[in-house]
Amino acid sequence: MLRLDNVVTHYGNIQALKGISLEINQGEIVTVIGANGAGKTTTLKAICGLVSISSGKIFFRGKDITGKPTSDIVGSGIAMVPEGRRVFPRMTVLENLQLGGYLNGDKNLIRKDLERVFELFPILKQRLKQIAGTLSGGEQQMLAIGRALMARPKLLLLDEPSMGLAPMIVSNIFDIIQEINQSGTTILLVEQNAHMALSIAHKGYVIETGRIVLEDTAKNLLNNEQVKKAYLGE
């Protein structure tokens, strides 16, 4: 469904990705783990066209999306929960969610999707009119996830969705991710909480300073000594 071929990106002179190749099949949950600064976020941004790609290609559902404007990429069915939440701080919770469904013309659909988000995150329903910038950290995280769901993506990119969430919600989030996945959305998940991520994923990649160093089924990775030591804290 999504394929990255040797993708290289730069921030100024710094090469952040040094040739990333990965593949995600329809219906999978794929996770990318790696230390701080390894290039996980940059990979997601590259997919969305938010950082420009110096060389390499990206294919989504067979089509070459390299260098396409972000809005087109999003239009073709990719949504992202960005790192650091990035809610629209001076808009209300409701408006943030509506913007998530910006490309969905159908009003009824939007209403239905809203209901679904409220089911997942009841607190958002109580805060509908609150200015998003004043939500607590965790509430903002929920809003960011809800907003991405409003786009009804075929591929959902999640950048550390569990960051700053209460333990109960964290386990919920992973349930929700699986649920979304089961209802047909393919998922690319970046997580610090590698244990949790690998336990729900089908496949995993380990990234180190801009390169993929390991690629295997999630199960195998969970048992890999190297991974255990470096990312599972065991």
Partner: protein, 293 residues
């Protein structure tokens, strides 16, 4: 006697204020989206006036057509300015586009000086409509028109920005461009659209005010532009009704200043501005959102 004077002055203040408001709307519009003080707005206003003037004097068009021509021309100019001078600076810090805007402003002003000559030109428009005659207070048809048009535009813009989808996209773009793109918003288009509308407003203001004072000159944008900008801030920059209220208050303050001490009228107007800001640090209608830590 005192009251009739007073009311007449209030009317003066409101009509002066409505010209500021008209300009302030365009300022606020662009600011609200790009957080950019578009210093070139004064010159867009001036250009609008000149295009209207050409329409009337060279092509002998009626007033309404001149107004539309001025708006269309200004609109195009605004979009071009954005493309050439601001778009390349999208990723830069906030102050760079400000300087770029000043550059554009200097350029347009001097280009107009060379093309049009420095002298003011008469701006005759055969515009006639009934005015209002309330005994001692006469309101000319143009005054009335300016007031009505500004209120109409204000309501329309407010609706556009707050209630429509494109409006929502504009605000989202203003707050976080990258994330706005993630929502599927084509931000370049949204920004062009914003400039188009903001500049058309400036053009309309140019034609109306030009006809109102029967003159247009290359420097005509400077004072009203400055005041329009101040009005926008006074009302809470980025806030559409605020721009209107800010314009009217500034107009009133200036007129009242002129009544008491005409030599200090600008000082009085600016003192009112500063006083208001001290009590409402984000302008009259600017929403004060407490910073969440």
């Amino acid at each position: 006697m005192f009251f009739s004077q007073f009311f007449a002055q209030v009317v003066n203040g409101l009509t002066l204020g409505s010209t500021y408001a008209l300009i302030a709307l365009g300022y606020t519009m662009v600011y609200g989206i790009l957080e950019l003080i578009n210093f070139a707005h004064s010159e867009i206003y001036m250009t609008g006036a000149f295009i209207g003037l050409m329409a009337v004097t060279v092509y002998k068009l009626p007033f309404a057509a001149a107004l539309l021509a001025g708006m269309a021309g200004a609109c195009m100019l605004g979009v071009i300015i954005e493309k050439v001078a601001y778009r390349p600076l999208r990723k830069a810090n906030r102050i760079a586009p400000l300087i770029s805007a000043i550059g554009v402003s200097i350029f347009l002003q001097n280009a107009a000086l060379l093309a049009m000559g420095p002298q003011a030109r008469a701006f005759p428009a055969n515009f006639s409509a009934p005015g209002l005659n309330l005994g001692i207070i006469q309101i000319s048809p143009l005054q009335l028109l300016i007031l009505i048009i500004s209120i109409f535009l204000m309501v329309g813009l407010h609706f556009l920005i707050q209630k429509t989808k494109i409006g929502q996209a504009m605000r989202a773009t203003a707050q976080d461009k990258e994330t706005a793109q993630l929502m599927g918003i084509k931000i370049d288009r949204v920004i062009s659209f914003t400039f188009a509308i903001g500049s058309a407003l400036g053009g309309a203001a140019g034609v109306l005010v030009g006809v109102y004072f029967n003159s247009a000159d290359p420097m005509m944008g400077f004072f009203p532009g400055l005041k329009g900008f101040v009005a926008a801030v006074l009302g809470g920059i980025g806030n559409i009704p605020g721009a209107m209220v800010g314009g009217l208050i500034l107009g009133l303050a200036e007129v009242l200043g002129a009544v008491y001490m005409s030599q200090y009228k600008d000082a009085i107007a600016f003192a009112v501005l500063i006083l208001i800001l001290l009590f409402k640090p984000t302008g009259l209608m600017g929403r004060r959102v407490q910073e969440k830590v």
